[in-house]
Every structure is written in structure tokens, then in C-alpha cells.
């Protein structure tokens, strides 16, 4: 055998086994049937069921609930949390977390609101908000990916910094007289087409894209690899730092877009409490949706359902005439139940 032949034979020795021939259709066909886990997880089905139960109960208690007039505002209110939740899901899949989104919402909304007051057109204002959000996300991402510090610490820190920036822009006053430029994202007639609120439709589209991306592209799968074992991911050539940065940038961009929804839902006045506590609401939606806080597992579909559940409870509590503050108690209980059943399931699987 010549050197040349020897050399070339090393090129593809390992992946194919010519002597065995193609595996004759059967194993391949069998493999095709369940190459990936089911597209909808058990937890997501349960969530759908729970949401359905809540809606049905509400429909019986307050017949007005099942009308478009009740459902549509609910969907609109769900939109910003679910939208930002898409980004947060990706971050949590990589094993990180971002507790600065509430403060980032404040920065984006106050800046955009002021721009709207100044007469900026809707497309430019959306762009402005998204770019600002992207910048804030980049700050987080750079510090976390390249500073190699735990995400929760860094984002606790940047939350303070963002709050400072936001309050400085507010200049100790509320922003008044915001024009209805964003009514296409709002609750009103302008905000929906064929009864579907635009904000919710956009959220569903973004969720669908993210769902496909996370499930079917190499880049998407790498987020899961990083969350599973960042060191091992680096060893197989996953660009861990760049991917980590990307997760926070995506979240920042979605915070920017979500802030437009927030402005659209509000009145013509924006006060300094905007965004407060939203980071925890987003994390709650992600967690209720079945994404593991330890990283490596999760789905944006679950997050959408989680956000919808939280919002259904919130509006349900008010519809039933209870104190609106009681809805937080239910959110807490839902988190415990959702994560608790997951823990128990994992435990029984391990002992089996």
C-alpha cells in the first residue's frame, strides 16, 4: 500500500462501515419515529389542562369571562411576560439567570415613552426600545460570559445600575402625555386583527421561532449543552462564551420589544414603578413552564403556558372579586406544585 493511499484512507474511516452495508431501512425507519423526545412535554399538557380548568371555572362563576372582552385583555397582559420569558428561558437553559429584566424594562420604557412624547413614530420607537434593550443585555452578557462570575450576582448588580439609569432618565418625575402611538399593541380595537391582539400574536410568533430554533438547530441545541455541562461543551468545541453572551442579548432585545407592550397597556402616564418585580414574574412563568433552574432542560412553549396560567389566575382572582394581591399567593403555590411534581417525578425515575 502506498503512502498516499494509506493517508487518504484515514479520512473517513470511522463513521461508515462499508462491510455491513446500509442498515436496510428497518432500523432507520424505526429511528425516525422517535428521534427526538415528544414536541410537547407532559408538564405542558398539564399546564394546558390547568388553564382550561381555570377558564371553565371562571366561565361558570362569572359568565362574562368567556367573552372576548375578558379573554383579549388577558392575552394582551400575558404578552410582555411571555415574550421576555422566551429570552429568560434560553438564559435559564444555559444555567444562568437574569434578575435585571425588571430594571431593564424601566430603562427601555422610560426612554421610549419620552421619545413618543417627543413625537417619534411607532416603528422608530420600537427600534429604539429594542436597541436599548439589546445594549443592556449585552452589558449583562459580557460581564457574565467573559467576567466568569455567577449570573445572579452580576444581574443583581446591573439591576441596580439599570435602575439608576432609568431613574435618572425619569428625572424624579412621571412621564406624562404619552400619545397613543403604540395602540396597535394595546387593548383597544386598534390592537387586534380578527379579535387576536397583536401583542399576543407577536409573542406567539416569537415563541414559535424560538421553539424551532432551540429544538432543531445546532446553535439551539448548544444552549442545552452549555447548561448540561459548560466545561464539556467547551471541550466539544461549543463557543460557550459567545453563546452565553447571545442568550443575554436575545433577552435584552425581547425586553426592548416587551417594554413597548408595557407602554401600550398603560395609560398616558408612566411612573417610576414600571418594571418593578417583573423579573420575578418572568422567572415564575419560566419555572412553572417546566424549565429547570439547574440548566440543560426547558422549553419556550412551557414558558408561554406558564405566563398564560399566571395571568389567568391574576385576572381570575379579580373577576371573582377577591383581593388582587391574593393572586401572588397562587403564583407561589403554582411554582411549588410545578417544580415539586417535577422533583418527585425525577426521584421516582431514579429509584426505578
Amino acid at each position: 500500500m502506498s503512502e498516499l493511499a494509506n493517508e487518504s484512507s484515514t479520512q473517513r474511516v470511522t463513521t461508515t462501515r462499508p462491510e455491513s452495508g446500509p442498515p436496510a431501512g428497518r432500523p432507520q425507519a424505526k429511528a425516525r419515529t422517535r428521534i427526538l423526545p415528544s414536541p410537547v412535554t407532559g408538564q405542558e399538557l398539564v399546564l394546558i389542562g390547568v388553564i382550561a380548568v381555570i377558564w371553565i371555572v371562571l366561565a361558570f362563576r362569572t359568565p362574562a369571562f368567556m367573552t372576548a372582552g375578558s379573554i383579549e385583555p388577558l392575552l394582551v397582559a400575558t404578552a410582555p411576560i411571555a415574550l421576555i420569558g422566551v429570552g429568560m428561558t434560553i438564559i435559564i437553559i444555559t444555567g444562568g439567570i437574569d434578575v435585571s429584566v425588571g430594571a431593564a424594562i424601566m430603562v427601555c420604557s422610560v426612554l421610549t415613552a419620552k421619545a413618543l412624547v417627543g413625537g417619534m413614530s411607532a416603528p422608530t420607537a420600537v427600534l429604539l426600545s429594542v436597541v436599548v434593550g439589546g445594549v443592556l443585555g449585552t452589558v449583562n452578557g459580557l460581564l457574565i460570559a467573559y467576567g466568569r462570575v455567577h449570573a445572579i450576582i452580576i444581574t443583581f448588580g446591573t439591576a441596580n445600575l439599570f435602575l439608576f439609569v432609568g431613574l435618572q432618565i425619569f428625572g424624579s418625575r412621571t412621564v406624562n402625555g404619552i400619545p397613543a402611538t403604540f395602540e396597535i399593541f394595546g387593548r383597544g380595537d386598534e390592537g387586534r386583527t380578527f379579535g387576536v391582539p397583536h401583542a399576543f400574536a407577536i409573542t406567539v410568533v416569537v415563541t414559535a421561532i424560538a421553539w424551532w430554533y432551540l429544538r432543531h438547530t445546532a446553535g439551539g441545541r448548544h444552549f442545552y449543552a452549555i447548561g448540561g455541562d459548560a466545561h464539556a461543551a467547551r471541550l466539544v468545541g461549543v463557543k460557550v462564551q459567545r453563546r452565553t453572551l447571545l442568550a443575554y442579548v436575545i433577552t435584552g432585545l425581547l425586553v426592548g420589544l416587551g417594554s413597548c407592550f408595557v407602554i401600550a397597556q398603560g395609560t398616558s402616564t408612566l411612573d417610576q414603578s414600571v418594571g418593578t418585580g417583573k423579573e420575578l414574574a418572568v422567572i415564575a412563568a419560566v419555572v412553572i413552564g417546566g424549565t429547570s433552574i439547574m440548566g440543560g432542560r426547558g422549553s419556550v412553549l412551557g414558558t408561554l403556558l406558564g405566563a398564560l396560567l399566571v395571568q389567568s389566575v391574576t385576572s381570575g382572582v379579580t373577576q371573582l372579586g377577591w383581593s388582587s394581591q391574593l393572586s401572588d399567593l397562587f403564583v407561589g403555590i403554582f411554582i411549588i406544585v410545578a417544580v415539586g411534581t417535577d422533583l418527585l417525578r425525577a426521584r421516582t425515575r431514579r429509584t426505578r
Binding site: 466568569r148 435602575l163 422567572i283 383581593s323
Partner: protein, 363 residues
Amino acid sequence: MTTTAPPTPAPTPADTAKEGPAGRLLRVLLTQRIALLAVLIVVVVVWFFVLDAGGYLTATYNFDYMSASLINAVPLAMLGLAELLVILSGRGGIDLSVGAIVSLAGMIFGFTYGEWGWPLWLAIIATAMFGALLGAVNGFLVAYVGFPALIATLATFYAYKSLAIVINDQSPISTPPIQTLFSITRSVSLPLFGQYVPDVPLGLFTFLLPTVVLVWVLLARTTYGRRLYGIGTNDVAARWAGLPVRGTRFKAYTYAGLISGLVAVVTVAQFASARPDAGVSGNGMALPAITIAVLGGVAITGGIGRVAGVVLATLLIVWLNAGILLAFVGNEGSQFQLLALGAVLVFAALLNGLTTRRYGGSR
């Protein structure tokens, strides 16, 4: 939740002997968090004295002012110590619910002392015990059921926050007994050498100092402290060494709840009112408490952290904030406090990362 930093061997004594005085100073400052904080406190205080002398401040920054501002250190340091306990316990230990416990336990204090007329001591004990009970719920979920601490305390944050507001139909309790309680937060002259030093807020002695001493004894001297550091450092090894891993972790959350209960009493006294949103309004109390703990050198991965670090970090932040308030007019001051807090936290975190890579960690 994984760090990508490769394990670097710690420098040998021979290695450290080679570096010059500047190098040694740098190493001490980076690896000895206590030393760094002490230096930073001196820098901050001197800086504000200089600003004061130059007439840049709206009021005088002197020892009296510094001493009076210590009233803000009481809840901050106490909750910082609560976070110290849970973060030390490892496995991503953290408590987001401390602020909500302060709110809810504060309402209980309002009921017992303000409305039902219990004696003060009994009301305080009841409130602390109630806080411990709320902390025990966290501890049960984390230690026995296996919830990630972030999730469990996020859930209880929501639940406690909601209960605190609903329990008295959204209204604060500010009956006469509560209103007169404000007196316990006043400043007093110290006995014996009181004439030589500024008056000191009473809350410092009645609440903060006992808590600091007890937590220090707990961590540095008791077998419980040893077990806590043990499970935080490596809970698998702790199990194989025969340490009661779950019980130890459970207690850490319970103690954190207990301290939060005491903070509730302090907060009610400070506001002269039991407010249902005392611990959760704005950004709440958990965030600053975690910031203080991290700044004090507590490793978020568990097993590393000291009481002295938390106390010094509190003093740094309190005196920095006090100075900032004088450096700006109106609301600006409180906004720049946010900037300072955020910048200091990010700086401390990056420093922790750097120290870990360069010197194999700080202590």
C-alpha cells in the same frame, strides 16, 4: 451553574516569598476580603471628610452623622447575616423571601403588640418564632424536598408577600403602642465613655450587636457552624463523613427566617407602623441583603464567608450611602446610592472571579 475556570494550584509558600512588597500588598487585598473592605471603608470616609472640608456636601459629614446613619445598618447587616447563613449552606443556597418574611412577620408583630396588647417581649419572641416558622418552610422545601433554593424562596416570596397584604386587608397597623415604639430606634449616649464618642442608635445594641455576636459564635465556635461550612463546601463528602446534611441545611433557612423576624420588629419600630409592604416595596430587602453578603466575600457556591466580612460590607455601604445623600440634592442622592450599590457589587463579583483564578480563592 458551572464555572469554567480550571482549577489552579494554590501558590506554595516559596512562591509567595518571591513577590515584592507591592505584590504582597495586592495579594493580601485580593485574598483577604476583610483587609480590602477595611481599606475601602477608610478611603470612603476620608474622601467624604475631604469633600466636607471643601464644602461640597449639603450638610456636615462627621462622626456624629456617621454614627446616626448606623440605624440603617441594623436591618441591612441583620439580613446580610441571614443571607450569609443560607448561602454558606451551599447547593445554590439563597433566600429571596427575607423581605417578604419581614413584611409578614411585621404584621404579626403589629397584631400581637399593637392590637392584642401582648407584652413587648412576648410579642418580639412571637414575631421571631413566626419568622423562624416561615424560614422553616423554605428550609423544608430546600433541604428535605430538594427544591433549588432560588425557586423555593421565589415561591414563598410571592406567597408571604401576598399574605402580608391580605392579612389585614391591605392596611398598616399603627396603633398607639406601635407609634410609641419609635423610641427604641432613637440614639443614646453610651454609658461611661459616652461623652467622648457620638451618640449611637439604640437599635444597634438591642438588635444588631446581639445578632452579630450570636451568628459569629454559631459559625466560628459551634459544632453547628462546622457542619454548615462542611455541607456548604461539599455536601456529598459531608454525607459520607456522617454529617446530618439535611438537618443542617434546614436549620440555616430557619435561622435566616428567625433573623428576618427580628428585622421585622426593627422595621415596624422604625416606621412606627406595621406596613404590609415593609420588606418588599420597591426592590425589597432581599436584594440589598444578598449584595451585602456577596460584597462581604460570601461565595455564592457555598462554604466560604465570614461574619466580619458581612459587617464590614454593611459599614462600607451605609457610610457610602450616607455620604452620597449629602453629596446630592433631593432624590438624586437615593438614585446615586443605587449606582454605588450596583457598581460595588459588580466590582466585588469580578474581583471574586479574578481572585479565584489568580490565587485559588479568597477567604
